[in-house]
């Protein structure tokens, strides 16, 4: 079931009298139980898009439907949205954790009794019960973020918009929030997630959409995207150096050697290589998988370390090939 369907969103702002296109033509769809990582460099149009979906920014052109309803025309459609927006904690700092949940529950249309019950359940689930009476400003940043997530979930929304939910958190708090997001997604909610921490996006998302200069440049399932960008190279690390005989045999297979590591570019030759190496002690065998960071940098104009290494190896391979010929 499609929870979010945004079609042809466009938004321009005026800066010093000139129109600047923040979002050019963005369409997004997220089904129930799906996590879409919405990635892009700073100023690419991520936050503007999220805010257009939440009805906080009016698009110049385009439509948004949440469970078939337009949030600009029917404010009731907003009941289906929970949001943790960027840069702040979205909470009342002078109220306690429990009071925030009580208040926002009613603001989202729940009765005070239901809001309170759901609030207590969320405090329990997010491990915040011992802090229920602590005012928000006395909570740690990680706890504030967990509470902001709980507040976004108070009315059990089918769509959750998370704009940089792990920004500024330490390692432990990041892990905690990450685990919570995974749990929330498993409940069948549609989640739109923006983050600069691409390892988190890779771990949590089912699909990835990358936006650059206001346009979506790729939208693909996370697995497929990584597969597309991954190389076919195998690297075999050995515990001991290679002797001259094995060295030449490997070169004949088209492999290259750097220190104690062998790189093989034709995957069909892997077992031939292993026969050559037998019985030398192996440290590890790895297939050259791309990660989301490399893909992101490649698509948005930057270059990842892994990519540079891969290119260096490719150059080495071509040189070796030329030498052999």
């Amino acid at each position: 079931m499609l929870v979010l369907h945004a079609q042809g969103l466009q938004k321009s702002y005026r800066y010093q009298g000139k129109p600047i296109a923040a979002v050019k033509q963005v369409s997004l769809a997220i089904a129930a139980g799906e996590v879409l990582a919405f990635l892009g460099p700073n100023g690419a149009g991520k936050t503007t898009t999220i805010k257009m979906i939440a009805g906080l920014v009016l698009p110049d052109v385009g439509t948004v439907e949440i469970l078939g309803r337009d949030p600009y025309r029917h404010t009731a459609a907003l009941r289906s949205i929970g949001a943790v927006l960027e840069g702040n904690r979205n909470l009342y700092w002078r109220l306690s954790a429990e009071e925030n949940l009580d208040y926002f529950g009613v603001l989202r249309g729940l009765s005070p009794r239901v809001a309170h019950q759901r609030g207590l359940a969320l405090l329990e689930r997010f491990d915040l019960m011992s802090k229920r009476r602590t005012v928000v400003q006395a909570l740690s940043r990680g706890m504030q973020q967990k509470l902001a997530l709980a507040v976004a979930l108070i009315h059990d929304p089918p769509l959750l918009l998370l704009d940089e939910p792990t920004l500024g958190l330490d390692v432990e708090a990041t892990q905690h929030v990450k685990a919570l997001i995974r749990e929330i997604a498993q409940e069948g909610r549609a989640i739109l997630l923006t983050t600069h921490q691409l390892d988190i996006a890779e771990e949590l998302s089912d699909r990835v959409a990358i936006i650059n200069q206001g346009e979506i440049i790729v939208e693909e399932s996370t697995e497929e995207l990584i597969r597309q960008f991954s190389g076919t190279t195998y690297s075999v690390a050995l515990e001991v150096p290679l002797d001259g005989d094995r060295h030449s045999k490997i070169e004949r297979l088209g492999g290259t050697i750097e220190g104690n590591t062998v790189y093989l570019y034709d995957p069909s030759m892997l077992y031939d290589l292993l026969d050559i190496l037998k019985p030398l002690p192996l440290l590890r065998i790895e297939k050259d998988d791309a990660n989301l960071t490399e893909i992101f940098l490649k698509l948005t104009g930057g270059r990842g370390k892994g990519e540079e290494e891969r290119e260096k190896r490719e150059e080495g391979r071509v040189k070796d090939q030329q030498r052999l010929e």
């Binding site: 906080l56 009016l58 404010t75 009941r79 949001a83 700092w93 009580d102 208040y103 009613v106």
Partner: protein, 258 residues
């Protein structure tokens, strides 16, 4: 549903107020000290033998109304600015109630606080100056018309706060305009001046309140009707502007930030 929202807003505003009482106490102390300073200066200028009569009562009523109006204005516009910074403003705009409704209910819920604070100020002023004011139940009628005007102006200023975020300077200028509107006894004017005064926000209601509380007069129903229409027009104007500002701010994508 709206009742639940009212109760939630009522609780939210009282909890936030009582959790940091020093802010409230200092607001009361400063407001009363300023008036007492003015009172002592006026007595010095007038000389020791002069009796102010009902004029002192009139001025106290005007001053208490002014401080009430300023508290409400600061509450609404300051609240909007603070919430734009902490991110709660956007959460309000995602509410299925719609932002204008939430802010109106919020203003009504906060009214209990503002009235309570200003009653304290009024009582302190009466004790300090030795004046006696009448509190006939009828005073609620012109009081409502004044409140409509105050909220109307607060929403107008709130609309500006939504658009430009910084309204402290404007709020400072408003203080003096409000002091004029609420303390000058335009009801004692005559002719076309009085007619134009009736068009100004809060003015007809403030005059009626002085008649009831300081001059022990009965309520002039005709004037009250004018005061009510006046309050209604300013409130409607404020709410319409707020709706417009909401739409424009969303169009420009400037709801958050400061």
């Amino acid at each position: 549903m709206m009742f639940h929202l009212f109760v939630a807003e009522f609780k939210r505003s009282w909890i936030q107020l009582l959790r940091y009482p020093t802010e409230v106490i200092s607001a009361i102390v400063v407001t009363t000290i300023v008036f007492y300073g003015l009172f002592l200066s006026a007595r010095y200028v007038a000389g020791p033998g002069v009796q102010f009569g009902d004029r002192m009562e009139s001025i106290i009523i005007g001053y208490a109304l002014w401080s009430l109006a300023m508290f409400i204005m600061a509450d609404i516009t300051g609240g909007l600015q603070r919430e734009a910074q902490t991110g709660t403003l956007e959460q309000i705009f995602i509410s299925p109630f719609g932002a204008p409704k939430v802010f109106l209910v919020r203003a009504l819920a906060g009214l209990t606080i503002q009235v309570a604070l200003n009653l304290v100020i009024l009582v302190i002023l009466m004790v300090l100056t030795g004046t006696r004011l009448a509190f006939p139940p009828m005073l609620l009628l012109p009081f409502v018309s004044i409140l409509m005007g105050v909220y109307g102006l607060a929403f107008i200023l709130g609309s500006i706060a939504l658009r430009v975020k910084q309204v402290q300077q404007l709020l400072g200028i408003c203080q003096f305009v409000f002091l004029f509107l609420l303390t000058v006894p335009v009801e004692s004017w005559a002719g076309s001046f009085k007619f134009f005064a009736m068009l100004l926000p809060m003015v007809p209601g403030a005059g009626l309140l002085r008649d009831l509380m300081a001059r022990d007069q009965t309520l002039n129903v005709g004037l009250w009707a004018i005061a009510l229409v006046n309050g209604f027009v300013y409130l409607a104007l404020g709410l319409l502007l707020f709706r417009y500002a909401e739409r424009e701010t969303k169009r420009q994508g400037k709801l958050a930030g400061y």
